[in-house]
Symmetry: C2
Subunit: 200 residues, 2 copies
């Protein structure tokens, strides 16, 4: 931002620029937009940041983000508490909930094992998962991490911890995405689709 | 956001979604990012919004945004105060300042005449410009609004107010952008470039 700009405006733009996917140019545009808000609107925006940060924390059971002690999914008696879907982030929980098909519960790891980024298993919510598995009756744990190197490694690591406990561990199916075109599928996806073919 | 998400998180995402160019999906991502901030970082972000909104206002002279009574450009004795560059927004001032070539001062209209959006001349800082022109010695007013219908109309409207006062009113040059390729220039730009050709 040119030096002719007011310092508080530059500071606000710098705050916006810290957000993921927001460059300095967009950050400036957002800062100018905030200047055009009414005082109440600006206050509501600032308050929402503080409030979300203060009141939202991890669910005691599944580690998903919630403003309650135990999140709505974990406290719902209608759900199957013996099936745990293990995901990387709270966003993944939201994605599964949008399918409206999954009736089990979740466990959020808050990351994936990645030695290169200095993320070791002890930094994830893995011991909480083991505790949960030990203290409640679990029939199946679904590893629903992303099909990436880190996702596969984490799924493998956790499954090796759970299998000796006699728990059924499953992995999401990989294959062609619905609506996808075979011609444009990458080799690994196509190979997986071929390998995991089903009888019709 | 799925209903499983904590309400304060949904509310924060809704605040982000009000910003220009930020859809609901990006807003959710930003809200999750804020959750990952430390408490101090979140507080600094919220404070920057409040502070910018409270301390930044229009310069008494040129109407550009500033946290002082009179902005740095208007209070700079080294600049040519008899040349006023009239622009639509504070962003345009920043753009001209980046050229490091313009030595005059500015006047920010905070909008363009646009009857369809219910923006009439009295909603812009036009009377402040006329006052300024009447009270100080001005040799030239440069109309630097965008080359759009609204920009042209506003430039024309203001020039008709200023010309009877015996003030030289100029308009930015339109032509091929530097580094542009002739083949891809639109017809109007090419016509303007031809019309405004200079002897070499």
């Amino acid at each position: 931002m040119a030096e002719t700009n007011a310092l508080p405006l530059v500071e606000l733009a710098e705050q916006f620029a810290k957000l993921p996917g927001i460059g300095m140019k967009t950050a400036q545009r957002l800062a100018y937009f905030v200047m055009g808000m009414t005082e109440n609107e600006a206050k509501a925006f600032a308050d929402a940041i503080i409030k979300a940060h203060k009141t939202v924390h991890c669910c005691k059971v599944c580690q998903n983000l919630t403003d309650k002690d135990i999140c709505p999914v974990c406290s719902d008696d209608m759900r199957d508490h013996s099936t745990i879907c293990v995901v990387e982030t709270p966003k993944d929980v939201a994605a599964f909930e949008r399918t409206r098909e999954y009736k089990g519960v979740y466990h959020v790891l808050h990351g994936l094992i990645s030695p290169i980024d200095n993320v070791t298993p002890d930094k994830l919510k893995i011991k909480e998962l083991l505790e949960r598995v030990n203290n409640t009756e679990i029939s199946e744990v679904i590893m629903a991490t992303n099909p990436t190197v880190e996702g596969e490694a984490t799924a493998m690591y956790i499954s090796r911890l759970l299998k000796p406990l006699g728990i059924k561990v499953t992995r999401l199916a990989f294959g062609l995405p619905i609506g996808g075109i075979l011609e444009y599928a990458d080799e690994v996806t196509l190979y997986k689709a071929l390998e995991n073919r089903n009888e019709i």
